[in-house]
């Protein structure tokens, strides 16, 4: 039997151990809800999707002195498409089958995880999700891997979907509460789309929301893939997600009607997966125009009244402003030339023109299949009230004939011409306040900061810093390759860094050390 002294001693030891035990592993829910300046704990940075930073060390006056702090070369030909995460001074970013952890101060590699190359499209990887010391990573062969953030060792692995059916995965998971939200890719096959929540400790499925019904359901569509990362409103406790196009892609004859919930913005309860509302950006799409662009959450005035809004610059060429409490439209307006719709219906959804559906002898369509915008993140600048998007004003020709069948693509389409431009949209009217030409293709995603800077890139691989008020170039640096990602920014050791990527290289920019 233990003596009194022994019990006191044991109690003292356990208190000592408890107080010197490891700090709460990051990111925790507090960090995800209120990311501090020295973090970027999720794909969009915070839950709003605005990609707008309050950091002001780099300003329109001093940005001309922005210089390279360090770069990290992956030595791979595959271009980087991920937004890195910054947690506790370490950057985590990806390419298909690969995760790197790099010291954000020096650019030196800490660890690298390589997944054995398997089946599935290796077209891109948007980044990891993180929660309490775990890194969540999706693979081309449609598996979710959980890694230990300290050393990249595997904690568990679960199958998300069957790659042999045509699914693959590429998106950056979103962590909300104790749910890891993951989505799927794949529209070369007629597949049901879904969003799934899994347990961060085990990967076990907590719930699944199906965007479409299983293949073979008469007169119903498949598709609605959840290609990109959604956003979250903690006050309303709603996650907002965009869904992809229906399948078969270019032939809508087997799927008459609107084809819910493809090309839609949906609001789900993150604890149950229950659908709360849905707005369809492209009813009965036949042009491959996913509506998976960032659902950007903005609180502000709309025509004199305060609103909780959701804004999306959609692939089909329309800029949508919705009331995010109920999904009702506030504004639907094109943000470039489009020729495929007959206007909008009573719910402010576009009405597709049957004359502009893909045909055996071809139809000239604007925008092209790549869309008026695509995966490149837009940014909402709370200071100027401008919604800034990397747009592509393009034209394509679309073909579909019976011999193309009713499976997967079911036709062919070809880009004819396009031009890239950054557009700063007044969200209350859809008017474009300023434009910045980028070249013959699209550029990079967009990041804005409170000091009045817009960070992006052009069609030639130039990283750009623009004045958010008028779009004029204040700084640039030639990166040497195509930019296929969206920038992030954070503060570390009192220095503001902007991190961009081009080709297989990550670049960290800051003002010169004093």
């Amino acid at each position: 039997m233990m003596s009194r002294v022994g019990r006191v001693f044991l109690l003292a030891i356990s208190v000592l151990v408890a107080s010197t035990s490891l700090p709460a592993q990051q990111p925790d829910n507090q960090m995800l809800l209120h990311p501090p300046a020295d973090s970027w704990p999720g794909y969009h940075g915070d839950y709003s999707g605005r990609r707008h930073s309050s950091l002001t060390q780099v300003t329109p006056r001093n940005v001309k002195n922005l210089t390279l702090a360090w770069s990290f070369q992956t030595n791979q030909t595959i271009p980087l498409k991920s937004s890195p995460l910054l947690v506790d001074g370490i950057l985590y970013f990806t390419a298909p089958d690969n995760v790197w952890a790099v010291d954000a101060r020096s650019g030196h590699q800490i660890w690298r995880f390589t997944y054995p190359r398997g089946q599935g499209e290796h077209i891109g990887q948007r980044g990891v999700g993180m929660y309490k010391g775990s890194v969540f990573f999706l693979t081309p062969d449609a598996h979710l891997i959980c890694l230990n953030a300290k050393d990249g060792s595997v904690r568990w692995k679960v199958e998300v979907a069957d790659v042999s059916k045509g699914y693959w995965t590429s998106m950056a998971p979103l962590v909300v509460g104790s749910h890891v939200l993951i989505g799927v890719s794949g529209d070369f096959d007629n597949l049901a789309g879904f969003l799934r929540a899994v347990d961060p400790e085990t990967g076990a499925t907590q719930w699944q929301w199906d965007s479409t019904l299983p293949a073979g359901t008469p007169n119903e569509t498949t598709g609605g893939m959840t290609w990109m990362t959604g956003t979250y409103d903690p006050d309303l406790n709603l996650v907002y997600w965009g869904t992809g196009n229906p399948t078969p892609v270019l032939n809508g004859s087997t799927r008459p009607g609107d084809d819910p919930y493809t090309c839609s913005i949906v609001a789900l309860n993150p604890d149950t997966g229950k659908l709360v509302w849905a707005f369809q950006a492209s009813p009965h799409d036949t042009h491959d125009w996913d509506a998976v662009e960032t659902p950007v959450l903005v609180d502000g005035d709309f025509h004199g009244k305060p609103h909780k809004m959701l804004m999306q610059s959609s692939r089909n060429g329309y800029f949508f402003v919705l009331d995010r409490t109920n999904g009702k439209s506030l504004l639907t307006v094109p943000f470039g030339t489009l020729n495929w719709s007959l206007g909008v219906d009573k719910q402010a959804r576009p009405i597709p023109n049957p004359e502009k559906e893909p045909a055996p002898d071809g139809r000239l369509i604007a925008p092209d299949e790549g869309g008026m915008t695509n995966y490149r993140s837009p940014s909402f600048d709370t200071k100027t009230g401008l919604f800034i998007v990397s747009a592509n004003l393009g034209w394509g020709i679309y073909f579909s004939k019976p011999a193309d069948g009713l499976y997967g693509w079911s036709g062919a389409d070809y880009g004819v011409w396009g031009t890239g431009v950054i557009e700063a949209i007044d969200y209350q009217t859809g008017k474009i306040r300023w434009r910045h030409e980028l070249g013959e293709e699209s550029g990079a995603g967009v990041l804005t900061t409170d000091s009045g800077l817009t960070f992006t890139g052009d069609a030639h691989g130039n990283f750009l810093a623009l004045d958010s008020n008028d779009g004029k170039t204040l700084w640039h640096a030639g990166s040497g390759s195509h930019i296929t990602s969206s920038p992030i920014t954070y503060q570390l050791d009192g220095r503001q860094y902007v991190v961009t990527s081009s080709g297989g290289v990550l670049f960290a920019w800051s003002l010169p050390e004093p």
Binding site: S164, F188, D288, D361, E369, I397, A412, Y414, H482
Partner: protein
């Protein structure tokens, strides 16, 4: 037809069977005159089934997003089974460099792949080209025969009138024989936008001297040309004045003016210029 079945298991046997058939059956359908010449050496060569299968697998991983699972075109990437380059390829001598170097101007990245991997992709692409070129039905992509819905007379009127084409083009001048040089989709694409057309540029230096040439590069910061001697010259845009003359821009201006009927009629007319 399920893409995956043909691509993963049956493609190999498809390729072998079709190659045997084609060796005996020349293209003799009524549409043969419009179809692209099929009997090229690469189309009739047979590849070992295992090589085609491993190529199919690698193709799905690396290529299918842009070029489609069966190489007939996907998101943004062209149909390889109708490709001029693929038709003229012999054992990867054309295809290999494109895979390794990419097409940076068209958005295709380079792929660092071993000789064996390249060989398997080449085998798969040719097998697909072959599978797509045999007979009617199940065929994806756009054939010249799909593009024959227009009226040549109406197209001629459009060319000389509302289309504005006659401002720059002549059926007996620069467009004489155009339909012998380009056919089908390639003709239509170039008609809509001639991506190979060169732009001219005049650069005025601070001294007042002007330099003219063919536009070689332009972004916000740098303007470059090749002059009449073939020499490349560049300047910072901040240091010079310049004016670009891009004849292809007239095509861009036409996009919002065309009806689809205009396009088909124009195609019909251009195809008479043999």
């Amino acid at each position: 037809m399920k893409f995956l079945q043909c691509t993963f298991g049956v493609a190999a046997s498809c390729a072998v069977l079709l190659s045997a058939a084609a060796a005996q059956t020349p293209a003799s359908s009524p549409q043969a005159g419009n179809q692209i010449q099929q009997s090229t050496p690469s189309a009739t060569k047979t590849y070992p089934p295992e090589l085609v299968e491993s190529g199919a697998s690698l193709f799905r991983q690396d290529c299918s997003f842009c070029h489609g699972r069966d190489a007939t075109g996907g998101e943004t990437g062209p149909n390889l089974t109708h490709s001029r380059l693929v038709r003229s390829d012999v054992d990867g001598d054309q295809i290999g460099p494109v895979i390794r170097n990419g097409r940076p101007d068209k958005g295709m990245p380079p792929f660092d792949r071993s000789d064996q991997q390249i060989a398997s992709l080449v085998a798969f692409i040719h097998a697909q080209q072959y599978a797509q070129s045999g007979g009617k039905g199940g065929r994806k992509g756009v054939d010249a025969s799909d593009l024959q819905t227009g009226n040549a007379e109406a197209g001629k009127k459009y060319f000389e009138g509302a289309g504005g084409c006659a401002h720059c083009h002549s059926p007996t001048g620069d467009l004489a024989g155009i339909a012998s040089r380009y056919k089908g989709l390639e003709l239509e694409q170039n008609m809509l936008y001639p991506r190979h057309a060169k732009s001219k540029v005049i650069v005025v230096l601070p001294s007042g001297e002007t330099v003219t040439g063919t536009l070689a590069y332009r972004d916000e910061f740098t303007i470059a040309l090749t002059d009449s001697s073939g020499t490349y010259r560049s300047w910072r845009t901040r240091d010079v004045q310049y004016k670009v003359d891009a004849p292809a821009n007239a095509h861009v201006e036409q996009f919002s003016k065309y009806t689809d009927e205009d396009i088909h009629n124009l195609m019909a007319y251009l195809q008479t210029l043999q």
